[in-house]
């Protein structure tokens, strides 16, 4: 009865005031009405309403009043108010009533009215609203009680407004946006308000009050899903991590918060959190056993972050896997993750179809996982890990990409050393670089002090932050530089004084100081051949090999007599004595032979390429020699004759004695050398036409290689498992095609090459596909334009379609 009465009273009074404010032009009257209304506000000089009256006012009339106030933005009476009165009677309404309704009204108002002084006014109010911590009050008001009764629609609107405030404001206010509404600032403010609300919640729980975190969780989720998790968590997470360390209530609040996040937003929250949090312990304190309870988060944490995405830093992986490993309930998930990683790592299709970066990421995760296993678990999983290691290494080593092979080796080594503590371990020879070192470092156990340290950091950060606010901390950079300066100079003292006296002693010519050899190098090509065939003496073989290229080039006619035989010997030569730079010397000699006596040597090499009983290495050598010799042949002859002489030496031979006889010439030269002409990039070197030696023999290099690629042999299956050679073959063919530009035979070559690559354009190996692309480019670049349409009209359309369909998606 009492309530009924007060309700009516309040309604009558408020309605009267509203009517006065909206219709009256008398400022005194309006101010009186405003004062009356202000009486319903919770605090302030005019507060006089009882609790039940105020409640009724908040529930039914507050929004109405605010709307009227907003509607009176341009009314005359507003001009008459002093600024103090204005704050007191107008602004106070927005800052003291229920914060959710106020926010909605303010935002609506800014959204609807255009740029004007009224809008400025509202923006000011919004700024004040944010600065006065009304958002925190809003959150806290939603935390209280067993759960807010309001409609889902209202809640959604409120969430939307709160989360996208920076966007809304930017849209409305551009270009006069306020710094507070920029996303970085706004979300860190939001983080502060989160802290405030959660703090209050904790205190309330300790006092035995019921709280609900649903709204806060929803706000968190929505903010994260809109991509602002970074700004939000940057401030929030260190605080959470520090607070949860000692306070059990805080931990429970955090867990509850995480559990209350709706499933559709779970992923973005968890992902954002994992990236920001430092160390597995902190993550465990914040998340609790969420990963066990919530299917969505389990999927994200154990599957998506590890197997589907690969952009995260190693420390994120460490945090995540460490989190899984920490608790008994979560431990089965670690095993499950390990199984999934093993499967992914050892699947040949994933090795072939995923980028190297993802392989690397997977390998990191796998090694981290293995390093986290206990001995008992290791014994249990031994067979599976062994299977994974063997299968995975096979498909990694099978790959054409050096990085993937190396990853395979490193992971294999690490796994085997973890599995067999006593027995033989795998050991590969690979070049150490940053990547391999990082991979190996994954096996290092987690630093035990890590958790403590990061926590200490957290608290430090927090205290530091608060200090920063107080004094702005300008001293840090200064101390840093002074530290640097004090360390700088004493690096090397007294080296100057030593320099002078050393200069007095001028060195003698030391060019004669060469390696001593026991026997003399062969003088004739046949001696060289004999040395390579019969000699058991390492030095003689080495000398013969070193001399071979020079001898071939010096006396081409003699070389032609034995060219094929010498090629055969070189092709079969093994590095029995581990001669230094054996491969390079052998290759140089074979290239020289192929250049000097092109047709027979090319015929021999191309037939041998498809014959039985060669190793992959030898077949690749053949291709390399063909490519290099074709390259050399296609260069203009002028450069020939002194192929090994460095250009500087060639210059000094001519220059010093050639004194120009005529003084005019000298003057001319000087003027020329000192004149700079704009718009003219130096005189172009005179081009002298020289016959292309490759043009006439290109066919001998090219066509035999295309003859029998589809006839698999016992030891060599080009279209099957030996895709390594196939990739090289396609590249070589492309190169031979490219070098044959302007040759008469280019048209036929291009046609055959396109036919050939057409069959393998969807090969599974990316190196082969790269080669195909290269070959196609070479064909289009090298074939004469007029023939292109006439000869290849049927191919052209198909190729174009293939390129268009294939190029954007394939990761070459």
């Amino acid at each position: 009865m009492e309530a009924q009465r007060s309700e009516t009273e309040v309604r009558l009074e408020v309605n009267r005031c509203i009517r006065t404010i909206s219709t009256s032009r008398d400022a005194v009257e309006v101010v009186a009405s405003l004062r009356t209304l202000a009486g319903y506000l919770p605090d302030g000089p005019h507060a006089r309403a009882s609790a039940s009256e105020r409640e009724e006012f908040d529930r039914a009339h507050y929004t109405m009043v605010l709307k009227v106030l907003v509607g009176g933005l341009h009314a005359d009476w507003r001009q008459r108010l002093t600024s103090a009165e204005h704050t007191e009677l107008w602004g106070a309404f927005f800052l003291q009533g229920p914060p959710d309704q106020a926010l909605l009204v303010i935002m609506d108002c800014i959204g609807t009215i255009g740029q004007s002084s009224g809008q400025d006014k509202m923006v000011d109010i919004l700024e004040l609203y944010l600065q006065n911590g009304r958002v925190g009050a809003l959150l806290w008001s939603r935390c209280q009680g067993p759960g807010s009764p309001d409609s889902p629609q209202l809640r959604e609107t409120l969430l939307g407004r709160m989360v996208s405030l920076p966007d809304l404001m930017a849209n409305r206010l551009y270009p006069h946006n306020r710094p507070l509404f920029l996303s970085a600032q706004y979300y860190s403010l939001l983080a502060q308000e989160f802290k405030f609300a959660l703090d209050k919640t904790c205190k309330a729980l300790k006092d035995g009050q019921d709280c609900s975190l649903r709204f806060v969780a929803q706000l968190l989720g929505k903010t994260c899903v809109q991509g602002h998790s970074e700004h939000l968590f940057k401030d929030l997470v260190p605080h959470l991590s520090a607070s949860t360390r000692s306070d059990m209530v805080w931990q429970r609040v955090c867990w509850r918060l995480m559990e209350d996040i709706p499933d559709r937003w779970m992923e973005s929250v968890v992902t954002g959190l994992v990236q920001v949090v430092t160390g597995p312990a902190a993550l465990a304190r914040i998340l609790g056993n969420l990963v066990v309870k919530n299917k969505k988060s389990q999927f994200v944490l154990t599957h998506k972050l590890l197997l589907l995405q690969y952009k995260y830093e190693t420390c994120v992986l460490r945090t995540l896997l460490g989190y899984l490993a920490q608790d008994r309930e979560r431990r089965p998930l670690l095993i499950q993750v390990l199984r999934a990683l093993c499967q992914a790592w050892s699947s040949s299709s994933s090795v072939r179809h995923t980028p190297v970066e993802q392989q690397l990421y997977l390998s990191r995760a796998l090694l981290l996982c293995v390093s986290l296993l206990s001995e008992a678990e290791l014994q249990e999983l031994r067979a599976e890990l062994m299977q994974c290691m063997l299968g995975g290494m096979q498909c990694h080593l099978d790959s054409n990409v050096v990085r993937i092979r190396r990853i395979g080796m490193v992971v294999g080594e690490c796994l085997s050393s973890r599995l067999n503590t006593q027995e033989a371990r795998l050991k590969f020879e690979y070049e150490q670089d940053e990547e391999t070192k990082e991979l190996v470092s994954m096996m290092d156990p987690f630093p035990p002090e890590d958790a403590v340290l990061t926590d200490r950091l957290d608290t430090l950060q927090i205290s530091h932050c608060s200090k920063d606010k107080e004094m702005g901390s300008p001293e840090e950079p200064v101390t840093l530089t002074s530290h640097l300066e004090s360390q700088g100079p004493p690096a090397d003292k007294g080296s100057d004084s030593e320099l002078d006296s050393d200069d007095e002693l001028t060195p003698y010519d030391m060019s004669d100081d060469r390696e001593m050899t026991k026997s003399a190098p062969p003088r004739y090509i046949r001696d060289c051949l004999e040395g390579l065939i019969f000699s058991e003496d390492p030095t003689r073989v080495e000398l013969s090999l070193q001399a071979a290229e020079g001898l071939v080039r010096k006396n081409p006619s003699a070389a032609r007599e034995v060219s094929v035989e010498l090629t055969k010997v070189l092709l079969h030569l093994e590095d029995k004595y581990s001669t230094p730079s054996f491969l390079a010397l052998r290759q140089a000699a074979m290239v020289a032979l192929a250049v000097v006596d092109s047709i027979p040597v090319a015929e021999y090499l191309t037939t041998e390429f498809y014959s039985v009983n060669y190793s992959l290495r030898q077949r690749m050598d053949i291709l390399e020699v063909l490519a290099l010799s074709a390259q050399e042949l296609s260069k203009p002859i002028a450069e020939q004759g002194r192929p090994s002489l460095p250009p500087s030496a060639a210059v000094t031979l001519v220059d010093p004695q050639s004194v120009p006889s005529n003084w005019r010439q000298v003057v001319e030269q000087r003027i020329q050398s000192k004149t700079r002409r704009f718009g003219k990039s130096g005189a172009p070197a005179p081009v002298t036409a020289t016959p292309n030696r490759y043009a006439s023999v290109a066919g001998f290099f090219f066509f035999p290689l295309l003859q029998s690629y589809d006839r698999p042999q016992v030891t060599f299956d080009l279209l099957g498992s030996d895709h390594l050679v196939l990739g090289r073959l396609v590249h070589t063919l492309g190169l031979l095609m490219h070098l044959a530009v302007n040759a008469p035979v280019a048209t036929q070559m291009g046609r055959s090459l396109l036919d050939f690559v057409w069959a393998i354009r969807y090969h599974t190996d990316q190196v082969v596909r790269q080669g195909v692309l290269f070959s196609v480019c070479a064909v289009f670049l090298s074939m004469p334009g007029q023939c292109l349409l006439a000869e290849l009209s049927d191919h052209l359309l198909e190729t174009r379609a293939w390129l268009a369909a294939h190029f954007p998606t394939d990761h070459f």
């Binding site: 030593e498 050393d502 002693l505 001028t506 060195p507 003698y508 010519d509 030391m510 060019s511 004669d512």
Partner: protein, 322 residues
């Protein structure tokens, strides 16, 4: 264009055996002498004016001479040979008598080292079976024997030196395992050890003023090391040679030039300050076994001698202009 490398000043032939060791005695320029020890047990005394062998001393029963040195003047000679004996000779007034003979027991190639402690008293270090022995000369009183605790292998080379500041004499010793040890003779203990080479250490020389030394081995590198204030040996830099194997390293008395005798028949010269290669001297046709600098008082007359397995001694005059 760099100058062509110098040729020998003159060559001493006729020893009839590989030259294992050389020692100058040029205190009086009028009668400058060069002692050489051959692989057949003969010690030749060469007159550097007539360029002939003045005398030939045979006292080790035909076994290879490892080391010759003089103490005090050119009248007293020490020779060490592979008959496990070390002899002191009196050569004054045309005599050639063995005055003292010490049994060393060492069959290795390690050369001894001698240092003047007080006027007319010398300290001699020589290799014994698996230790270094120190003896005072001319009295022949044993001072001590230094035996390493750890197993370092055979002794390969030694160098005695007297540090400034009144400490007792120090001894640098190179061992078969490629390590180098600094012994304090007074305390009979190793002060510092440093592994300078993976192969046995074959030769070393040390600059007591700059506290810097070099060592050579069967490999391509010459290592240089320093002795810091705490008597610790520290590796500095290495110089890569073209061919492996160094028989001997010698520092000239003015501490400017370092010479190396290489297995590749060549004598190499380096500036001592930075170990900058200065010259490669090619004359010998077989392994160079030893190289030494003369002790001329006038540095302009300074000579360098190199002995080789090809039985010749080449005499050079290098970097004497300033």
């Amino acid at each position: 264009m760099a100058r062509p490398p110098p040729t020998p000043l003159f060559v001493l032939r006729g020893s009839g055996a590989p030259i294992n060791t050389l020692h100058f005695s040029c205190q009086e320029p009028s009668s400058a002498l060069l002692f050489s020890g051959s692989g057949k047990g003969a010690i030749h005394v060469w007159n550097l004016h007539t360029r002939r062998a003045e005398r030939v001393l045979e006292g080790h029963g035909g076994s290879s001479i490892v080391w010759v040195n003089t103490i005090g003047s050119k009248e007293t000679l020490i020779s060490q040979a592979r008959d496990k004996r070390l002899c002191t000779w009196n050569l004054s007034e045309g005599r050639s008598d063995v005055t003292q003979s010490i049994f060393t027991g060492s069959v290795g190639f390690c050369q001894g080292s001698v240092m003047e402690m007080h006027p007319q008293r010398w300290l001699l270090a020589y290799p014994a079976e698996d230790m270094e022995e120190l003896v005072e000369l001319p009295s022949g009183v044993p001072v001590c024997s230094l035996k390493p605790d750890a197993k370092l292998g055979m002794l390969m080379c030694v160098k005695l030196w007297q540090p400034d500041g009144g400490c007792g004499p120090m001894l640098l010793a190179g061992y078969e395992d490629g390590s180098l040890a600094l012994w304090d003779v007074a305390q009979r203990q190793i002060l510092s050890r440093l592994t300078t080479h993976p192969e046995p250490l074959l030769c070393l020389d040390f600059d007591p003023v700059g506290l810097r030394g070099v060592s050579g081995s069967a490999e391509r590198a010459v290592s240089s090391w320093v002795l810091d204030g705490q008597q610790n040996l520290q590796l500095r830099d290495t110089v890569e040679l073209v061919n492996p194997g160094i028989s001997q390293l010698r520092l000239r008395m003015d501490r400017r030039i370092l010479a190396s005798a290489g297995w590749d028949h060549r004598i190499r010269l380096f500036s001592w300050k930075k170990l900058k290669p200065l010259a490669v001297l090619q004359y010998h046709t077989d392994t160079a076994l030893c190289v030494t600098f003369s002790d001329h008082k006038d540095s302009r007359l300074g000579l360098m001698a190199a002995g080789s397995k090809d039985q010749r001694i080449s005499i050079w005059s290098v970097y004497n202009d300033s």
